[in-house]
Symmetry: C2
Subunit: 145 residues, 2 copies
DNA sequence: ATAATAAAAGATATTTTTATCTTCTATTAT
DNA sequence: ATAATAGAAGATAAAAATATCTTTTATTAT
């Protein structure tokens, strides 16, 4: 497995895709999202339903419905998606799995991991959901394969 | 879950513990290791058997047997343990789970993740299994709780 | 040689993650 | 109103990770 869970990987790819495809105010359906980011449709549906409930993304039912992002959502930091899906553990938990690891009671790698986690967090806090729309349009970055 | 799997967390904690407890040439049994690092005994046994087969740690059966580390093992980088247990994916795989992500075919986060992964890797390559023995003896770092 | 010890190995079980399928409900165009 | 559409929700299932228990094998002290 990678840094994030499969669930989280799908969520981030989907959110980037929705951002690009709905920048003009339109909506995009779950089938098209799943195909475009190469994820299992029904599994992704659950993930997006959860993100929708939490207000990270928007959705409308019925004909011409689908998922989309409003301006506020487009401006959100990517870290919000990770927090919503995987929880913020990756930004906070001990690298060796100790529940009470802290500067007062550190594991051997406490400071080293603090540094790595903080870099990861600030990186994800400084990326917005909508910021790759241009690159995705140009095809200079990809969301499948 | 954290950065690493539970399996990997147990492995690293165990290896640090074995390093400290066998620096004098003695050996330490699986029961004592499991208790001392707060891990399930039989599960940890499998992990250590695997590390032993791969030559990352050493073991001897029978009375006064147990696990220990020779000088070469004490000097190994911690990254060898992670590679052995979780595979090196954490140092190499795409943050968004794309199989073919590369500088030629990058995901939106390719460069950012490259940076984070490289930092993690070089951190783990520059830590040796035996380097915390002093701190563990002093109790300034811990392996449980 | 024998008994005691401790790792190795095998079988099984539980939990979590990932995935699929079906039914229900809300929305929109007609 | 009605039919079509598409997300929401619920029930199941498959796979992977985590955990436990039992039996076997190798080693050592006696």
């Amino acid at each position: 497995m990678g840094i994030f869970s499969k669930t989280c990987e799908y969520a981030v790819r989907a959110v980037f895709f929705i951002a690009q495809r709905t920048a003009d105010g339109s909506r995009v359906g779950i089938k098209e999202i799943a195909t475009s980011i190469d994820s299992p449709e029904h599994f992704l549906a659950k993930i997006l339903q959860d993100l929708s409930k939490r207000g990270i993304i928007q959705s409308v039912k019925g004909p011409h419905g689908g998922f989309y992002l409003d301006d506020q959502s487009l401006a959100r930091p990517l870290s919000d998606v990770i927090e919503a899906v995987d929880g913020g553990g990756i930004f906070r938990d001990c690298g060796l799995g100790l529940k009470e690891c802290s500067s007062k009671n550190p594991c051997p790698l406490h400071n080293d991991f603090l540094d790595v986690r903080n870099r990861l967090q600030s990186m994800l806090e400084n990326i917005t959901i909508g910021q790759f729309n241009g690159d995705l349009n140009l095809g200079t970055v990809v969301l499948k394969r």
